[in-house]
Symmetry: C2
Subunit: 647 residues, 2 copies
DNA sequence: TCCCACAGC
DNA sequence: TACTGCTGTGGGA
DNA sequence: TTGCAAACC
DNA sequence: TACTGGTTTGCAA
C-alpha cells in the first residue's frame, strides 16, 4: 500500500467507511454493486440525523463490549484455555454423535417476494428498478433495484438517491398473503407438515417424497420450483441439505431462481461449512458477526471450530454450543410440534411529539387495534408491554403483569395509560403495545361442556316459533350425531336482515388426526353475528358480534366478549373466514368488498362455502439452541354458513 | 415594446405565464415578491402532474364559458342593452335608498394566524421563514416566508423550492382553538354579539361601544388590537367601515399589525370602492374576477357600476344585484340571527387506488368519524353525500335523501356503500362523507316534557337508597325552583368508579336574554357518562355514554344515542367540555391527557368548574345575496359537575 | 333533489 | 413522492 | 418478571 | 421531510 493509498483510506477522509449501516449481509443480486458508493451515499444521507446519532451511540456501545471481551481474552491464562479447550473437545464429540444425515430438508424462499408479486399484478413494472414501500421505509426491492444497492430495510429517500428512477409501490399484504397461500398449496404436496417460516419461505422434509418417488433432492427441488412458478408465475430458490440450518444457507446460494444441493455426506458438509462466512448462518447477525471477527478473529464457520475454546471462554454455554454445532455443519432434522403464539403486538411511528393529548389518543388507537386483533384469535393475556421510541430513537419498554387475563381495549388502555404516564413528559416517535402470557387451556382437556353446537341452536330455533331459518342443502352430521331438522327450514335470502348463525365445516387435520370429520359450530341464540366485513382490508372477512353478547366458547373469566370457539380440544377462531375465489367468480364478482357488501346487504346465496384459515401457532426452531423463529402454517377447512332472518 | 420583448413574452417561450395558479389574490406581505419567478417555479413543479392536467382541463372549461359569454355580449342588440340599462338604473336607485351609514362595523383578522401561534409556542421560529403544514399542503406561512412567495394552500414541496430554508410545522388545531378563544374573550367586550367567521377573524358592531365610550372607530380598533396583543401576544389587523363588506376589505389594507378606517361618508365610500379591484371583494374569487375582466373588461368595483347593463345581461338577477351593490359600496349592516349548521362532513386524501377493500375500509373509517362528530353535536340528518376525487383530480358527489334521520355509523356506512358501489370500479385519491338536512326541532316549541333535569335526578337519587352522590358546594336553582337536597349528599371522591351524572351551569346569553339564569341538566338515571376523554386530540373532552342508553334530550325517533340536551328552546351539546387552565394549574398539571386520565382513574376533585363551549350555529351572511358564509361563535358558560360512585 | 363549480379560511 | 379539510352558496338540470 | 438488544422477514 | 412492523429469543438484573 502506497502512502497516498494509506492517506486516502484513512477514515478521517472517508468518514462513511466507519458508519455501520444495517446493510451488512450480502444480499443476493448485489454482486456488481459499487459498495463504496452505496456506503458513501447512505452515510451522506444519514449524517447529522437523529437516527444517525443513535446509530453512533449503539455502535460505540458495541465497540465497548468488544473491547471488554478482548480484555477478557487477553486475561485468559494457559490454564483457562486448557480448561475451555477440553470442554470444547468433549462437546465436539458429543455433537458429532448427534449428526443425522438420514433426512433430506429443502428450504424454499421466494425471490424478491413482495416486489415479484407487485410486478405480477402490474406488468409495466417488469424490468424496471422497483421497491415496495415508501419514502420512509422499503420492505424489499427487485433485483434491478438491487444493482443500485437498494434493498429491504432501507429508507426510500436514500434508495432514491442511489437510484433516481426507482419506482415505489406501496405495500399490500393482501396480495402477498394470496400468493403465499398459493405457494403453500404446492409445498403441501411435498410435505404435508411443511414449516412455513414467513409469507415467502418454508422448510420441507422431503425425505419421504424422495423415497416414495425415487427422486433426488435436486429433482424434487427442480419440480417444486417449476410447480410454484406454474401456479403463481413467481420464481423461488431452494436449498437442499441434511438439516434445516444448512438447507437455509443453500437456498440463498443460487438466488434468484436457482437451487443448490449439499449432499448428505459428512465430508461434503464439513468442506462446505468450513469456508462459509459466519454471517450467512441464520442467527448470526450483524453484531454477533462483528464480535466474532473483532474479538476472536473468526469470519468463517470453520474458524468457529478452530477457536472453540475462546467461544466457551467468552460466551454462554448455550451460545458456544450453538457456534460449535454451526462449525460442524449440524442443524435440526426433526419436525417440531406446532407451538402456540406467545405474544401479539401493534406499534406505530409518527412524527416525534411530546403532546400528551396526541400520545394518549395514539394509545387509544393502539389499544383498540390490539384488542381487535386479540379477539380475532380469541386470545387474552396477562402481561402488557408498552413500547416507546424517543425522538432520539432510544427504545424503551415498560410492562405490567396482571392478576387476570385481558383483551378488552378499555382494560388495555387503562393499564397502558398508567405505564405511559409514568414516563411523561417525553418526546416520542413511536408507541407500541404488546400482550403476552396468554391464557392457556388446560392441556388435553375434554371438550368444553359449555360448547354450543349448531345442532343445539338449530333444534332450539327450528322447533320453536320461527320458520325463517334456513341453511345450505347439505346434510349435517355433527359429533353429536347427524342433524336432520334442516329440511324443515325453508331456504331464504341473505339480505340486510340476515344474521349469521353458525358454521358447519369439513375439516382436515390441524395438528391431530381429525381430518374428514365434520364439525359444527353454532353461535349462541343471543349471540348472533352482527356484521361481516373485511375490517382490516387484509382480505379476510371477520365477524363482529353484538357487544355484550355471551361467549361462544370457554375463555378466561375476565374476558367477556370472545370470538373463538372450541371443537373438542381444538381451539378455533371464529374469524378469518375467507370466501373462495370460485364463489366470487361464479357471481362475476371479484372483490372482497363486493362480497362483504353482499353479505351485509342484498345478494342471495344458498350454498355458501368458505374457508377457515385457522391458526397454526409458533413453533420452536432449534436453529440455535433456545433460539426460536415463528411459523405460521395454513390448512383449509371448507365450511357452510347458516343464516336466519333478523327478528 | 420591441420585437424581442414581444418574442420573449410570448407564452410559447414562457409557458408558465399561462398556467393559472390558485395563488391569484394578492396576499398581504407579498409585495416585494418576484412574481415571475414564483409563477415559473410553481409551473415547473406542477407541470406534467395529474394535478396540473386537471387544472388545465378546468382552465379550458372556464375559457370556454368566457367565450360563450362573450358571444352573448356580442349578440346584444341596442334594444337589449337599453332594457338592461333601465333595469340597472332602477336597481341602483333602489339600492342607494338602502344605504345605511349609521352603523360602525369592525372586521378583525389575526396576522398569519396558525404561524403566529406556532411562533408564540416556539420562539426559536421567530424571524425565520416558516409554514404550517407538511410537504403536501400548507395551511399558512409567516410573513418571512411570504417574501419568497410561499403562502396558504401551496403544497409544501413547491414552497420548499421557493424557499429552501423554509421550516415546516405540523398543524395543531388545539393550539389555534385556544388562542382563538382568547381573542374572542376580547372581542366580546366590544360586541357581545360579535360574529366569528373563523378561528382568526370576526365582525364586531362597534356602534354602541363608540357611542357609550365616546370613541372613534379608529380608537376602538387601536384599543382592541392592543388588548388582543396583550392577552395573546399575537398581532391582528382591523378594518372599520359602515358595513361588513367594506370593513373586511379594510382589514386587509394595512396588514399585518395595522388598521384602516373608512369614514362613514358616502363620498369617501364611493371614492374608496371605485378604484378597488373587484378581486378584493369577498365573494368575488379567481374565476368570477377572470370572467368580469375577460368578458366585460371590468377590473375595479367602479367599473361594476359603469358596466351594470352588461351585468344584468350576463348574470342572474341576484348576482347582478350583488355586483351592483358592491359597486355602490353597500353591504350588510345588521347582525343576523345565529343560524343552525347545515351540514357536517369529513373527507380524507390518500394515495390513489382502485383497491376496493381499501376503499371500503376508508368508507368505514369515514362513517365512524362522521357519526362520532354528529353525536358530539347531537345531530342527525337525512341526506348523505358521498364525495369522490378520482386519481385525475376530478371531483364527484353522489347523494341520497332518506326517509329517516340517521347518525349511526352503521346507517351511514350502509348507504355510503351503496353510493360507492355504483361508482366502481374507479381509482380514487379522496373520499368524503357529508350529512345534511338535519333534524330540526319544531320552532319555538315549549321545553320538552321528556327533559330530565338534575333536580329530577338528584331528588330520585338522594331521597333513595344511595348516599354516595355528591356535588359542588353551590346552591342549585333550576328553572323549576331552587333545589335544596344537595346538602344531604356527602362529598366523595372521583375515581375509577365515578360516573358523571349531571351539570349545573350559570349561562349567559346565547341568542336570547337568558344571561345569568342558572340552568341544570341531569343525565337520566340509566344514562350515566361512561368515559371522559379527549377522543380526537383536539383538546376538547367529550363524554361517552353507555351504548343503548336512552336519550337525554328529545331527538328524532330514528336516532337512539344522543349527546345533546335541551334547555327550554335552546339546544345544547353535552360535549365540548373543556376544563379551564386555572384548574389545571391549581394541580400543577398541564395537559388534557393528565386531566382525562385523572377523571377516568384516580384524582379526587370536589369543586370542579368547567366551561361548556356551546354551539353557535351557522348563520346567513348577506355579503352577497343568498351567499352564505359560516359562522361559529363561542360563549362561555360556567358549570359544575356532579358525580356519583358507580354502583 | 342532485350535482357541479366557486368561494373563503 | 407529495396539490387539504370543512362549510356554505348559486345555478342548471 | 422486567428491560434491552439482537435477529429474521 | 422522511430510518418499519410483527414476533421470537438470549441474557442480565
Ligand atoms: N426488514 C424488513 N421489513 C419489513 N418487511 C420485510 C423486511 N425484509 C423482508 N421483508 C418482507 C419483504 C420481502 O419480500 C419478504 C421476504 O423477505 P426475504 O425473503 O428476506 O427477501 P425477498 O424475498 O424480498 O428477496 P430474496 O429472498 O430474493 O432475497 O419479507
Ligand atoms: N386554504 C386553506 N386551507 C386550510 N387552512 C387555511 C387555508 N387558508 C387559511 N387557513 C387557516 C390558516 C390561517 O392561519 C387561518 C386564517 O386564515 P387567513 O386569515 O386567511 O390567513 P392568515 O391569518 O394565516 O394570514 P393573514 O390573515 O395575515 O393574511 O386559517
Ligand atoms: Mg425471499
Ligand atoms: Mg424469506
Ligand atoms: Mg388572518
Ligand atoms: Mg382570516
Amino acid at each position: 500500500m502506497t502512502k497516498s493509498e494509506s492517506w486516502s483510506n484513512s477514515s478521517e477522509n472517508r468518514p462513511w467507511q466507519s458508519y455501520n449501516t444495517v446493510y451488512t449481509n450480502a444480499k443476493p443480486g448485489m454482486d456488481g454493486v459499487d459498495k463504496e458508493k452505496v456506503q458513501r451515499v447512505v452515510y451522506e444521507m444519514s449524517k447529522g440525523s437523529k437516527y444517525f446519532e443513535n446509530q453512533e451511540r449503539k455502535d460505540a456501545s458495541i465497540k465497548e463490549k468488544i473491547e471488554y471481551m478482548r480484555s477478557q481474552c487477553a486475561n485468559l491464562t494457559p490454564n483457562h484455555l486448557a480448561h475451555f479447550h477440553k470442554i470444547a473437545d468433549t462437546r465436539i464429540v458429543e455433537l458429532e454423535a448427534t449428526r443425522d444425515l438420514s433426512k433430506i430438508w429443502l428450504h424454499v424462499d421466494m425471490d424478491a417476494f413482495f416486489a415479484a408479486v407487485e410486478t405480477l399484478c402490474d406488468q409495466s413494472l417488469k424490468g424496471k428498478p422497483m421497491a415496495v414501500g415508501n419514502m420512509s421505509m422499503l420492505s424489499t426491492a427487485n433485483y434491478e433495484a438491487r444493482k443500485f444497492g437498494v434493498r429491504a430495510a432501507m429508507p426510500g429517500f436514500i434508495a432514491r438517491k442511489l437510484c433516481p428512477d426507482l419506482i415505489f409501490v406501496p405495500v399490500d399484504f393482501k396480495k402477498y398473503t394470496h400468493y403465499s397461500n398459493l405457494t403453500r398449496e404446492v409445498f403441501q404436496k411435498y410435505d404435508a407438515n411443511f414449516m412455513a417460516m414467513s409469507l415467502d419461505e418454508a422448510y420441507l422434509d422431503i425425505t419421504n417424497i424422495c423415497a416414495e418417488r425415487s427422486m433426488t433432492g435436486e429433482q424434487v427441488a427442480q419440480e417444486l420450483r417449476e410447480t410454484v412458478f406454474n401456479v403463481t408465475g413467481l420464481t423461488c430458490s431452494a436449498g437442499v441439505a441434511a438439516n434445516r440450518l444448512l438447507a437455509k444457507v443453500c437456498s440463498d446460494i443460487n438466488k434468484p431462481n436457482g437451487q443448490f444441493v449439499l449432499p448428505n455426506e459428512r465430508g461434503a458438509v464439513v468442506t462446505f461449512i468450513s469456508s462459509l462466512p459466519t454471517r450467512k448462518i441464520g442467527g448470526i447477525g450483524k453484531v454477533t458477526d462483528q464480535i466474532l471477527k473483532e474479538v476472536i478473529g473468526i469470519s468463517t464457520c470453520g474458524e468457529l471450530l478452530q477457536q472453540s475454546s475462546f467461544l466457551y471462554a467468552l460466551f454462554s454455554r448455550s451460545s458456544a454450543d450453538f457456534f460449535l454445532s454451526v462449525g460442524l455443519g449440524l442443524g435440526e432434522t426433526d419436525t417440531p410440534e406446532v407451538g402456540m403464539r406467545k405474544s401479539m403486538s401493534t406499534e406505530r411511528t409518527f412524527t416525534a411529539t411530546k403532546n400528551e393529548a396526541f400520545l394518549y389518543q395514539k394509545l387509544v388507537d393502539l389499544s383498540e387495534s390490539l384488542s381487535t386483533d386479540l379477539k380475532e384469535e380469541g386470545l387474552s393475556g396477562r402481561t402488557l408491554t408498552l413500547k416507546l421510541k424517543t425522538a432520539s430513537f432510544e427504545v424503551r419498554t415498560r410492562a405490567v403483569t396482571l392478576p387476570s387475563y385481558i383483551c378488552e381495549h378499555e382494560d388495555i388502555l387503562k393499564h397502558a395509560s398508567k405505564l405511559l404516564k409514568a414516563e411523561l413528559p417525553v418526546s416520542l416517535r413511536l408507541m407500541g403495545l404488546r400482550i403476552s402470557h396468554f391464557y392457556e387451556e388446560s392441556n388435553g382437556a375434554p371438550s368444553d361442556p359449555k360448547q354450543k353446537t349448531l345442532s343445539d341452536f338449530l333444534v332450539r330455533k327450528c322447533s320453536g316459533e320461527r320458520d325463517d331459518c334456513f341453511m345450505s342443502d347439505h346434510v349435517l352430521s355433527t359429533n353429536h350425531g347427524t342433524f336432520e331438522n334442516h329440511e324443515s327450514c325453508g331456504p331464504s335470502e341473505i339480505g340486510l336482515d340476515t344474521q349469521l348463525l353458525g358454521f358447519k365445516w369439513q375439516g382436515n387435520s390441524l395438528n391431530q388426526n381429525r381430518g374428514g370429520k365434520e364439525q359444527v359450530l353454532g353461535c349462541q341464540e343471543n349471540n348472533p353475528v352482527e356484521h361481516i366485513s373485511d375490517r382490516n382490508g387484509k382480505g379476510r372477512l371477520s365477524l363482529k358480534q353484538h357487544e355484550g353478547s355471551d361467549e361462544v366458547g370457554a375463555g378466561p373469566s375476565t374476558s367477556e366478549k370472545r370470538s373463538f370457539f372450541w371443537m373438542d380440544d381444538f381451539k378455533c377462531s371464529i374469524c378469518g373466514v375467507e370466501l373462495p375465489q370460485s364463489f366470487l367468480e361464479e357471481r362475476q364478482e371479484h372483490s372482497d368488498f363486493h362480497l362483504a357488501e353482499r353479505l351485509q346487504e342484498e345478494e342471495s346465496c344458498e350454498n355458501l362455502k368458505s374457508i377457515v384459515q385457522s391458526q397454526r401457532f409458533t413453533q420452536k426452531d432449534q436453529q440455535r439452541k433456545k433460539h426460536k423463529s415463528s411459523q405460521t402454517g395454513t390448512k383449509h377447512v371448507s365450511i357452510d354458513m347458516f343464516f336466519a332472518k333478523k327478528s
